[in-house]
């Protein structure tokens, strides 16, 4: 699909009666457009307001609750208690930073590993692109939990990798460093994200006008140069989109660390989960969540400067 300039919004008369100026506008189509507007506007507004905005505001308010004593729903004196505790505990900040670092590593590696796949699909797929894509996505449609469990089976001391290495005698004792630590979390998450990261890159690559390559070839550019000067720059929006699509959910990840992280693989999300389930300390958990949310919003603001949302929609 070649790119078309974004259409400006149609000039629909907003006021009633304006339609009278057009032939056949006797119905006053300003009126039913307005009615339609409210029909389209209210349901999503109310739904999102109720189930997205208000919960987050509630959590924000809850983070100012001094403690969990007493009735669940009482009016409490707002206090910075929880935030003070959060700020004074170095471990949590370090963990947030570590989680972000892990997410960064995972995102970069996922994007780098999936770029050649996207490239292959975009330029060498020909008629079989659909098939190749489906083949890539099928694992994505298997239960996430089971895939992670399968990795657990592969990385364990009696697992596939160790059995194999022992069999070909590279090692004498099974490696214990593969499971129950941060490495296991990183490996597993990269595995989970690669199919997903391919998609935006593929979309961006497919939008590149092939004529550009022909023109470049005519001017004597070698394939490698064509890649560096045409393909790569034009695919960058897709690359950034893929990066953030992986990075942002991964910072808040808690399921994979729970399954394969062991004692040392906990991420920030795990601690939030603990405060809500094991410690029954909802205010502190809320404070931690607000901090993470703030961090994520800042990152997205940076991302928005790098990717133009319009570019994605075209």
């Amino acid at each position: 699909m070649t790119t078309t300039p974004s259409p400006s919004l149609p000039h629909f008369p907003e006021k009633m009666g304006e339609g009278d100026q057009r032939s056949g506008g006797g119905r006053g189509w300003g009126l039913d457009r307005r009615a339609t507007f409210w029909m389209l506007y209210l349901p999503p507004l109310l739904w999102l307001g109720a189930f997205f905005l208000i919960p987050l505001l509630l959590m924000f308010a809850y983070s100012f609750r001094p403690d969990m004593r007493g009735d669940f729903f009482q009016l409490w004196q707002p206090s910075l208690n929880q935030y003070e505790k959060l700020v004074s505990t170095g471990s949590y900040w370090r963990l947030l930073w570590t989680s972000a670092q892990m997410a960064l590593l995972i995102s970069v590696i996922s994007v780098v590993m999936s770029y050649p796949i996207a490239y292959f699909l975009a330029f060498h797929g020909r008629q079989r692109v659909g098939f190749y894509l489906v083949l890539l996505l099928v694992p994505f449609w298997t239960s996430y939990l089971l895939r992670v469990m399968a990795w657990k089976m592969m990385l364990g001391t009696e697992g596939v990798i160790n059995s194999f290495l022992l069999y070909i005698n590279i090692i004498q004792e099974p490696l214990t460093a593969l499971l129950y630590n941060r490495n296991a979390v990183v490996i597993t998450l990269i595995y989970v994200w690669i199919p997903f990261a391919t998609l935006p890159i593929l979309a961006a690559l497919q939008r590149i006008d092939i004529a550009l390559f022909e023109a470049a070839a005519d001017l004597g550019a070698r394939p490698f140069h064509q890649f560096i000067r045409i393909t790569l720059p034009l695919s960058l929006p897709g690359v950034f989109a893929a990066f953030f699509m992986v990075f942002i959910p991964t910072v808040g990840e808690y399921v994979t660390p729970l399954l394969v992280g062991g004692s040392r693989g906990s991420m920030y999300g795990n601690i939030i989960q603990d405060f809500f389930t094991k410690a029954a300390n909802w205010p502190f958990g809320s404070a931690m969540s607000m901090i993470m949310l703030a961090g994520t919003l800042i990152l997205v603001a940076i991302a928005a400067r790098l990717i133009n949302l319009r570019d994605l929609l075209e």
Partner: protein, 364 residues
């Protein structure tokens, strides 16, 4: 419009029909009842620990009231169960353990139990009955009774284990598994160092935190549910762990070479209780459920399947299996003498100890 393309409407209506169809089919397994059930029909919902939702552990209720649907929601720890109940969970019956009972009474979450309605009440010993009383009123009925101690592989640790400090022993680095629970960790440290569990000072808590941060490097994983622990022991990844008897019973039954330690500081003993949520509409059914929990068949299952004690004295007195007698420490009075019982937590302790544990996990 292209006639071949299925219209959106037909697709949508097809989907809606599919959903309705599936909701109808999956709706419920029909249990054939031979005779009409006594009085009771309806639904009861129970907030329970994983594993106890198995029918073996409420078999008496199931047999007496086959028409009642029992729904289970799983809680993963006392803190989880407490926070669910405090937040307004609608479960009719819940299953807290010693140490956490006071909170429910303080927050008005639990009904007082009319023990005259429990036909099996007289089979419970006086001392156990007292454990379920707060401020002189019977709020909870005791049910399962057990030890916490150290479970270890005898083939990996032939010299045996005789102290709680084994959980922090560098000799077993990478093969230790601790329960994922802050108060549990504080309890162990207090046994090792002889602290008074009811009066842990701030300095002591800080020292405990440091200790467990160091332990984290030796620990393979924290287990949240017993099956996780059992899997680790079975595969030989875990050599020594904080464990309840049930895991010991299970692994022994599978032929895994394990032993349950008698640490010199003493084992820990706990009691599990059932309580009824205050304001439940199913009070009658709930009471029947509790009564059935105290009955013999259920009790026997608890004893035989999990090696836990049961509050029904008749059940305990009929234990003849030497393995069980050994597991309960019935043959060795010195075990019971040294056993430490879990005291009730205060709200401050709960907050402080769970926060401590979160910091242990978050430490770099």
């Amino acid at each position: 419009m292209n006639a071949k393309r299925p219209s959106l409407y037909s697709l949508t209506s097809m989907m809606v029909m599919l959903t309705l169809l599936l909701s109808a089919c999956g709706g419920g397994v029909v249990t054939a009842t031979e005779a009409p059930a006594p009085e009771a029909t309806g639904t009861l919902s129970v907030l329970e620990w994983a594993g106890y939702d198995a029918e073996d552990f409420w078999v008496d209720f199931k047999n007496a009231y086959p028409d009642v649907t029992v729904n289970f929601e799983i809680g993963i720890s006392d803190a989880d169960i407490y926070s669910k109940m405090a937040a307004g969970n609608q479960a009719d019956v819940f299953h807290p353990y010693s140490g956490w009972l006071q909170f429910y009474v303080d927050e008005g979450l639990v009904e007082e139990i009319d023990t005259s309605k429990l036909t099996n009440w007289d089979k419970v010993s006086e001392s156990h009955k007292k454990l379920g009383q707060i401020n002189g009123k019977q709020y909870f009925i005791p049910w399962d009774i057990g030890f916490t101690s150290i479970l270890y592989r005898t083939d990996k640790i032939p010299e045996g284990v005789d102290s709680w400090a084994a959980l922090m022993d560098p000799k077993y680095a990478g093969h230790i598994s601790m329960w994922d629970d802050g108060p549990g960790a504080v309890t162990i440290s207090s046994y090792i160092h002889g602290y008074d569990e009811t009066a842990i000072t701030d300095e002591q808590l800080a020292a405990i935190q440091e200790e467990w941060i160091a332990q984290r490097d030796l620990n393979l994983f924290y287990w949240a549910g017993e099956p996780e622990l059992q899997e680790g022991m079975r595969s030989g990844d875990v050599w020594v762990a904080y464990a309840w008897q049930g895991s010991y019973a299970l692994l022994l039954g599978e032929g895994v070479p394990v032993a349950y330690a008698n640490p010199k500081e003493g084992r820990n003993s706990w009691v599990g209780f059932y309580g009824i949520r205050k304001g439940t509409e199913n009070l009658d059914l709930a009471l029947k459920f509790l009564d059935a929990k105290l009955a013999e068949a259920t009790g026997n299952n608890v004893v035989n399947l999990f090696y836990y004690g049961h509050s029904n004295q008749d059940v305990m007195n009929s234990v003849t299996d030497p393995m069980l007698i050994e597991a309960f420490g019935l043959n060795d009075p010195s075990i019971l003498e040294k056993t430490n019982f879990t005291p009730n937590l205060t709200a401050e302790q709960r907050d402080a100890w769970t926060s401590m544990w979160a910091e242990v996990k978050a430490a770099p």
